[in-house]
């Protein structure tokens, strides 16, 4: 029989349309990912411009367990991620609810949301470095004027405080996107539901508790997972604001991997740290993908 059917034609076109993208993505990403795994299983020595590798199995990973800076980075990262997700999603939900309220629907607030999101992370870091400057920073000036502190604080001077400042800055930067995400979720809830609940005598809190929260469950879960993933990706801020200091107090896993590799040239060990981050991200990414599956989502269409 002559000719090919429409479906066959479309499929051929589809393969042709898809192939370049798949090839590009594989070419750019697949090799580096595999190579990164391979490197993490090797002892890599850079000697006079040449690279010498010897296979050492999981020794790089084993060494991490005894490495104090790795342990510190794990605990820093854990603290940072947990606090950041709680703060960003919690405050982001608050902002989304405010902006979904008739009083908050003005375009002005939408503009406000988009600015911190669009600002380059590096510029943001530079700005906050200036705000937090211990001698001339505006934060110290304001808090002193208000009588809240007696002496200027070195905000980035001690490990714990520096980590919390890092947290503050990244929370500021991250809230807008999560708020936009949750706002999109809120706007998908049919207004009819609220009308019905109101007629049933539900007050504002009950409407939130029994309509908003359940309808928003999947969107919230997605927000939590994405924010966790992004908190693991954080790099620019650490690099500009603290370079991991003081006393490694702001070394997060991602930054540790960078420092091991590009500052200390411990390439195998750096790759091992990078792969730890990779596997944590992978698990979260799978969780995110599952949330998006039609069976797993409960966002009203």
């Amino acid at each position: 029989m002559a000719g090919i059917t429409l479906q066959q034609r479309r499929r051929r076109f589809g393969v042709g349309a898809l192939l370049p993208a798949v090839v590009i993505i594989l070419a750019i990403l697949a090799y580096p990912m595999a190579a990164s795994l391979w490197l993490s299983l090797h002892h890599v020595e850079l000697a006079g411009g040449a690279v010498a590798e010897s296979f050492i199995g999981l020794a790089n990973y084993a060494a991490l367990l005894d490495d104090d800076s790795f342990r510190l980075a794990v605990s820093n990262s854990a603290y940072f991620s947990v606090c950041e997700v709680a703060l960003v999603v919690g405050l982001g939900l608050g902002v989304a609810l405010l902006l979904n309220h008739p009083l908050g629907r003005s375009g002005f607030f939408r503009v406000l949301l988009i600015i911190p999101w669009a600002i380059a992370p590096v510029a943001n870091a530079v700005l906050w470095k200036w705000i937090l400057n211990s001698n001339y920073g505006i934060l110290n000036a304001i808090l002193t004027e208000l009588g809240l502190i007696d002496n200027y604080v070195t905000w980035l001077g001690t490990p714990g405080r520096a980590l919390n400042m890092l947290l503050l800055v990244d929370v500021w930067k991250s809230i807008p996107f999560i708020a936009l995400l949750l706002l999109a979720g809120l706007q998908k809830i049919p207004a009819m539901l609220y009308r019905a609940a109101w007629l049933d005598g539900a007050n504002a809190w009950q409407q939130f508790r029994f309509i908003t929260l359940p309808s928003l469950r999947t969107t919230l879960a997605i927000a939590i997972i994405l924010q966790t993933l992004w908190s693991f990706k954080l790099f620019d801020l650490v690099y500009v604001l603290t370079r991991g200091g003081p006393a490694d107090g702001t070394v997060l896993l991602n930054y540790l991997a960078y420092r091991q590799t590009f500052n200390f040239l411990h390439i195998g060990s750096g790759a091992a740290v990078a792969n730890v981050v990779f596997f944590i991200s992978l698990i979260l990414a799978i969780a995110y993908i599952r949330m998006l599956r039609p069976g797993g989502r409960k966002v009203p269409a």
Binding site: M1, A2, G3, I4, T5, L6, Q7, Q8, R9
Partner: protein, 361 residues
Amino acid sequence: MAKVELAAVYKRFGTLEICSNINLVVADKEFVTLLGSSGCGKTTILNMIAGLEDVSAGEIRMEGRVVNNLTPFERDVAMVFQNYALYPHMTVAENIGFTLRLRRISRAEIEKRVGTIAGLLELTPLLGRLPSQLSGGQQQRVAIGRAMVREPKTFLFDEPFSNLDAALRVRMRSEIKLLHQRLGVTSIFVTHDQEEALSISDRVAVVNEGRVEQVGTPEEIYVRPVSRYVARFIGSPQIDLLDGAIVEESGGTGFRVGHVLFALPQPLVHALRTQGALEMGVRPENVLIADQGTAANVRVVNPVGPASFVTLAWEGGLITARVPGMSRLKAGEAVQFNVDPQHLMFFDKASGRRIEVPAGL
């Protein structure tokens, strides 16, 4: 013009069989409707005829030529879609003329042909508008115009009226029928609305679970449905099915439901008595409220204008009677009813097939 044949056509997705052994012949210039509930596979059949979906097995022939491997364009079919599927970024004129433009017909010629179609469908003042600026009925006419401008050999309609309001839907039935009478193009129409199917078709094919249950003229499928499924699907309100048995005893012969005996003519009883368990089907117009008969209580009265449908509660459950005009019966009123033995249907309880009884009984 075009005769369309489907010979043992199957459609499968993996192990899932969407359409099984579809055999259908649509004669040249005929108007045939595929009727079925949603998800029965009727749209898939239409898409296979159109060439939008591949056939898993079997043959589709047009004018005697196998078209399985031809594109919709090569099959020379035109189609009107359920949601009109008008191109939202094109004006009415561009929508209608799109197919001509793809065939590199000169601009002047396109304008002329679009103009003719627009005049025919009363779309001329709307030619410059976008679909979003049209009412549902206008969009519908544009969709038909887009199909007509091709002067195709076959028209395919996929539930074209389902988005229109009730009044417009009824009017469009006559318009489509008129159009078909005038153009005489082979047409295949898909709908889930049995009334629509009966009112516009030369023949109706009732589709159920991917199979063609019955093909026949509207009269055939209404009066002589092959199965319980077809009988229940056609007619509104639905046919009532009474569960009982043929009895021949001193008290009388007929069909017994509980304590109630519906007397039947002797030859009919003879014809049916060798059958197994039976169901008796009675359409509302064959239930007669009378001075004598089976005792019942009026449950609900639904007047629809020229007639009223009265739901009666009796020993065997509920049964619906059609009475002419606006009924004065009140809910709770005691009445009696009979069934017209001339128009009863009997179904084999196990298989659901209708038992053909000799004519004249």
